[in-house]
């Protein structure tokens, strides 16, 4: 277990703790180890007195917080622990029995010591079933993470200089008021689901750069594969059309045809779900590239542009409630589907006082993400086989993100299925979302760490880099009902928001975007976002400067 600078700032020990350590070192920490008892849910308690219940040495209290003196193992409640410290010199540091956290009696406050946490955590890992042998408790080899990360970061090639050449020549032709790349898409019969996703995909920095850098050459593709239909070629054609400078709405008919061939089960003039379409397009891209490269790599390592941009890794921990044995699995994903956090909004808590700072009735993205990464107790009808107990047991499951993708697509599940009435209903509840998103609390490193309680011990896993910071660049909003609704995409280009409603593009205020009913949110890693902004070939001229310039599709 190597120590590394982590993003968690280590609080400095108080004078008393520092003195204590100078005098006694780790001796008492180690001697405490025999008293530490780990419960199946991962909490560690100090449990020295197994025969009688722990009570305060002064007032016999057994309820509430109790402190265990590190020097003499006597027990005290918070009110009377000061008496002990005053009467016995050197007995300043104690442990909270239920939480295994250090307390300084003179400062009357919690204190932190990485060495202490190390002892506690080692003990926990050892005690939990399967702990010392397996790697599933978060203690993995050092070098693994950094090499994988390198592979994802490089290779997307923000070779903007090259793309500038391709684009700047046509720039002169367009008397445009909007940034390059903005162009309406005609609706071919309830295809707003397709148009909205295409707008988001084509402006995702990795994909935009991929196509602008001509990474998929149509001529070579046709020569190589001999296939007449290639989704990538079609997307490449749309991308060229979008960035051509021509502002008349484009008709992606060929793409629609290709996609119908690929996903024949969805081929109809009915309205489809945008998220389903998104998944099927990524799947189509992956298939095409696998054919070209003749590689059948699984999603985790795949180098096709769809996976390089969107693929992340989810970690799932299933814990047996009886013994604490945890089994961990990793699954790749191209997006995260979130349930809405509407449970907090019900009025079942009737006698709660009105909260001072909280908005009542607001669903937020962080609420949804918290719900996603919360430990969920599986019902008793879903008992799983525990390897340690060798029988079916109640378990709890917790998800977290092991590796974040370059482009994070968050899908908000707005469909509610009622088993009783056998109908599906759309949830129109407004959900608040931020423009800048920090995904750190939802990473496996944070979630696994929190299982050990309030520790400042450095875990190997800690991502001490900033790749958990994301900026939003596209929002797909849905309005209307389940069967008949409409999708629009809001794009953020160089800090200005644009509404892409099929063929109509317009500049909008960020307030409109915030107030919209979001269905899919697209975030990109902050570094990529900042690089995209700095590119100076896109000069933004405000439409107000050129009143006589009327271009169709640009309102």
């Amino acid at each position: 277990m190597c120590a590394r600078n982590s993003i968690y700032t280590t609080p400095k020990p108080c004078k008393h703790l520092a003195d204590y350590k100078l005098r006694h070192g780790f001796n008492t920490y180690y001697s405490i180890r025999i008293c530490l008892k780990t419960t199946p849910n991962g909490r560690t308690r100090v449990a020295k007195h197994t025969t009688k219940i722990p009570r305060c040495s002064f007032c016999d209290r057994y309820q509430g917080r109790l402190y265990f003196c590190l020097m003499c193992s006597s027990l005290w409640c918070p009110t009377h622990i000061l008496l002990h410290t005053q009467s016995e010199k050197g007995h300043e540091v104690a442990i909270d029995m239920n939480r295994s956290e250090l307390y300084c009696c003179l400062c009357c406050d919690q204190v932190y010591d990485p060495d202490f946490d190390k002892v506690v955590v080692c003990n926990q890992v050892k005690d939990l079933p399967g702990g010392s042998k397996s790697k599933t408790n978060g203690f993995e080899a050092c070098g693994e993470r950094s090499s994988k990360r390198k592979r994802l970061d490089s290779g997307i090639g923000l070779d903007l200089k090259k793309s500038k050449l391709l684009v700047s020549m046509r720039d002169r032709r367009a008397k445009s008021c909007y940034p390059l790349g903005l162009r309406g898409l005609n609706n071919l019969g309830s295809t707003c689901f397709m148009n909205s996703v295409l707008q988001a995909l084509l402006h995702a920095p990795p994909l935009r750069n991929y196509f602008l850098n001509d990474r998929h050459n149509s001529i070579q593709c046709r020569k190589r594969s001999g296939e007449k239909l290639c989704l990538l070629c079609d997307i490449d054609a749309i991308s060229s059309a979008m960035f051509s400078g021509d502002r008349t709405p484009y008709t992606p008919a060929h793409f629609l045809y290709s996609w119908w061939q690929h996903s024949s089960n969805l081929a109809s003039y009915e309205e489809q779900d945008a998220h389903e379409f998104f998944i099927s397009v990524l799947d189509g891209i992956h298939e095409m590239e696998s054919k070209i490269r003749n590689s059948g790599k699984d999603d985790g390592d795949c180098q096709c542009i769809a996976h390089r941009a969107f693929s992340g890794l989810l970690r799932s921990d299933v814990t047996c409630i009886s013994c604490g044995f945890t089994s961990t699995t990793y699954d790749p994903c191209v997006d995260i589907s979130l349930n809405m956090d509407t449970s907090n909004l019900s009025s079942s808590n009737a006698n709660k006082p009105i909260k001072p700072d909280e908005k009542t009735g607001a669903s937020t993205l962080s609420g949804c993400l918290n719900l996603f990464t919360r430990a969920e107790r599986l019902g008793s009808d879903q008992k799983l086989h525990c390897q340690n107990c060798q029988e079916l047991r109640d378990s709890s499951k917790q998800l977290s993100i092991r590796r974040l993708p370059l482009v994070l697509c968050l899908h908000i599940k707005r469909v509610e299925h009622s088993l009783v009435r056998k109908i599906s209903r759309k949830i129109n509840q407004y959900m608040q979302f931020p423009f800048s998103l920090d995904m750190t609390p939802y990473l496996s490193s944070s979630i696994v760490r929190s299982k050990f309680g309030n520790r400042i011990f450095t875990f190997e896993y800690d991502n001490s880099n900033s790749s958990a910071a994301y900026e939003i660049f596209a929002v797909i909003a849905h309005s209307g009902m389940l069967e008949s609704g409409h999708y629009v995409t809001y794009l953020r280009l160089k800090n200005q928001w644009y509404k892409c409603d099929d063929a109509w593009i317009s500049e909008v205020d960020e307030g409109i975007v915030r107030a919209s009913q979001c269905y899919m949110l697209f975030y990109v890693q902050k570094l990529l976002y900042n690089e995209a902004i700095e590119d100076s070939s896109f000069v933004h001229i405000s439409p107000r400067r050129d009143p006589f310039d009327s271009t169709a599709g640009c309102s």
Binding site: P78, C108, D109, N344, S348, N349, A350, N351, K355
Partner: protein, 111 residues
């Protein structure tokens, strides 16, 4: 010497002081010994997270720390701050559920 063998057993501290364990204490001991208390605590934690109580308390603490300044607040301060509000805002449904669990346990333990 034989006399010492028949000596009554050494009384322990509680009996010495003439303290009878209260009903509450007896129940508590039974709960701890059987491990039921740990399970109940776990259930309570889950329920309080579910209904948003934990988030509320967190928000109260944050607001207090913001007001007083990070270095001027101790754990004891926070505990004294949120204990009355916390106790008052536990939802009735949670209380009812736990009471039911304890009742069930007592009935099974008495048998």
């Amino acid at each position: 010497m034989k006399h010492s063998v028949n000596r009554p057993p050494t009384p322990d501290a509680a009996e010495d002081q003439g303290k009878e364990p209260t009903l509450q204490e007896i129940i508590n001991i039974k709960l701890i010994e059987s491990g039921e208390k740990e399970r109940l605590m776990e259930l309570l934690r889950e329920r309080l997270i579910d209904c948003g109580w934990k988030d509320e308390m967190k928000a109260l603490c944050r607001a207090h720390v913001k007001k007083k300044g990070r270095t001027n607040v101790t754990v004891d301060d926070l505990v004294h701050l949120i204990t009355p509000k916390g106790r008052a805002s536990v939802p009735d449904s949670v209380k009812a559920e736990l009471l039911q669990r304890i009742r069930t346990f007592l009935m099974s333990a008495a048998l």
